[in-house]
Amino acid sequence: AQSVTQLDSQVPVFEEAPVELRCNYSSSVSVYLFWYVQYPNQGLQLLLKYLSGSTLVESINGFEAEFNKSQTSFHLRKPSVHISDTAEYFCAVSRLNFGNEKLTFGTGTRLTIIP
């Protein structure tokens, strides 16, 4: 079975400062990794995903995440945050190559941007 740990439940950051949201996972098999974002009063949207290949993946709004197999981590970073980045962020994993596979989610990190 897989598990995901997001150690930080809340992260306050000043506008235009950098941010890192931490995600560690545990699995006995290879996994796919995801970051989802939930803006206030909305459902979850996929932010980015790691499938294979380059360990650094990027989103269209400036976030990036790096897959580190040795540390079993998939931390999310942004060099300069904006007010519009205020949201809750969820890390998730699934096993490779299973078409009906479930996602296992972390408990979420609430990112608050301070003007």
Binding site: Q6, S9, Y32, F34, Y36, N41, Q42, G43, L44, Q45, L46, K49, L51, F90, S94, F98, G99, N100, E101, K102, L103, F105, G106, T107, G108
Partner: protein
């Protein structure tokens, strides 16, 4: 544009009532999921379905049942609502064999049981 819709954004029910939450997707996805979301607990899987009339229990199925009579529709049923079932309920769907099991989510239904 892909779309998952849920029948209600907000719902208020009384203890003991039977509650139906409906989810519809227009992407011809085989897989559909129901989660509940609670502060500090993240998303927990209640039930999922791989095909019409198929269902499997997730991590917290107690007090819930589901129905999938058509491919595009997945219903969550609370047979006798309790205050402990006050929560945000999220529906999702994914394509069988699709890219890395990516799931698409609806906007959620915030259920309050009084």
């Amino acid at each position: 544009d892909v779309k998952v819709t849920q029948s209600s954004r907000y719902l208020v029910k009384r203890t003991g009532e039977k509650v139906f939450l409906e989810c519809v997707q227009d992407m011809d996805h085989e897989n559909m999921f129901w989660y509940r979301q609670d502060p500090g607990l993240g998303l927990r899987l209640i039930y999922f379905s791989y095909d019409v009339k198929m269902k499997e229990k997730g991590d917290i199925p107690e007090g819930y049942s589901v129905s999938r009579e058509k491919k595009e529709r997945f219903s969550l049923i609370l047979e006798s609502a309790s205050t402990s079932q006050t929560s945000m309920y999220l529906c999702a769907s994914s394509l069988k064999g699709g890219t890395a099991n990516e799931q698409f989510f609806g906007p959620g239904t915030r259920l309050t049981v009084l």
